[in-house]
Subunit: 272 residues, 2 copies
Amino acid sequence: MAAGERGGAAGDSLSIYSLGPLIHNPQTVEELEKKGVRVVESVDDIRCGKVIVRSHGITRPDAEALAGKGVTIIDATCPFVKKAQEHARSLSRQGYAVTVVGDANHPEVKSIISYIEPGVPIFTSLAELQESSGIRKMGIVAQTTQSFENLMQFVSIALKKIQEVRVYNTICNATVLRQKESTAVARKADVMIVLGGYNSANTRRLAEICKESNPRTHHIETAGELPPDALDGVSCVGVTAGASTPEWIIEELLARIRATWREEKIQVSFYQ
Amino acid sequence: MAAGERGGAAGDSLSIYSLGPLIHNPQTVEELEKKGVRVVESVDDIRCGKVIVRSHGITRPDAEALAGKGVTIIDATCPFVKKAQEHARSLSRQGYAVTVVGDANHPEVKSIISYIEPGVPIFTSLAELQESSGIRKMGIVAQTTQSFENLMQFVSIALKKIQEVRVYNTICNATVLRQKESTAVARKADVMIVLGGYNSANTRRLAEICKESNPRTHHIETAGELPPDALDGVSCVGVTAGASTPEWIIEELLARIRATWREEKIQVSFYQ
């Protein structure tokens, strides 16, 4: 296919690709598409042009394939993810089995796992860890958006079974802080709203954590999804948003709360 | 002083020394003294003969001093303690600050700490760890008789503050098992008796743990110390003993319970 053609596996040298959605927020992805960023699911769909590697990182084979194509790589991998990849690789090279605390299907976890040397035992769930045997050295890293408590559960089980456990706390501080502060907001609010993509793991986790402190927690993607009666009889509404939720989505919700429930003088307690 | 003289710093070539009491059980130490094992507090008190290094191990300077004297060393250091010493040394050589989870005044902890390279930051308490700053790599080992829960408290605080935490679980399995099984006994018993030296850290810890499950827990050294009314109205008495408590001390207590409270048909639930 000649340069200049669009669609299929081709692309001209001005094409900007994103391997998977750049951010786990459908509304922002739509905005970016309007500006010419094309979301593709596989490196096979890219021939030339520029490729944005999103914050989750990409797998080692994908990185090697892209390097082989001579495309320009704009690497926006989160530095915490990069560290987790490096630690996972280094641990596996030093004879450690590796546990990646996280969702095995999440692109970030897939990218971390891809840096582990072949043949090294890999664990991503508590059940797998509990059933493990014959391991003397375990290295542990975490998906950057995991909760500290979850990481500690893995560390505790590993230490019960395995003599040496080497842990890199790769949880992103921003995530921990957001979870902590959002919980504080959820506790004092009558209703809690968590704003962000349903495909965003950190937003889903945030919603789970808020729900533990406040059963009246709603996870919505946009202001329009808030049920009209959600704030009936409420005097304080808490609002928080996932790391990937853009500012304008938040502003839209806050504006809607202010406009619709103005007369009730609802107090808005916000954390992001 | 000529060989053959006794007392003071001298000793003949047949002398058998123990650096500190061989076991944290006064009754057994007394028996051993009758058999010629002399307890000394310092390597300065030893010139020749044989020296038993007890299970707690000795400090590196003491080991070097003994080697220099040409005395015969009978090394009864617990293999778990030896591992903790080796890990502490190796961690400090690899640039890790070192936390030894344990009682800083216990000879075992002193012996472990003595293997840490000079100049390396050392921590033995949660408070010290909480106040630490500027540490990027923390190695953690434990006194062999510590509880797993205590080790996990240190690991949790370290992981909140420090990016890399490398833990060697040097807790003795026998201790963990004894604590676990004794707790089960304490829960079902009306009264719990923990038998062992007051100077035995693992016995004291065992008594503490049993007390959490059963407030009617007595820590005694010998059967004679059991208050006469301790088992009044009791239908099930639980008995456990520290790692250093000799068999005959236990037998004495069991015999006393059977003889004194025979008519009450007290059920004895025993774990050691």
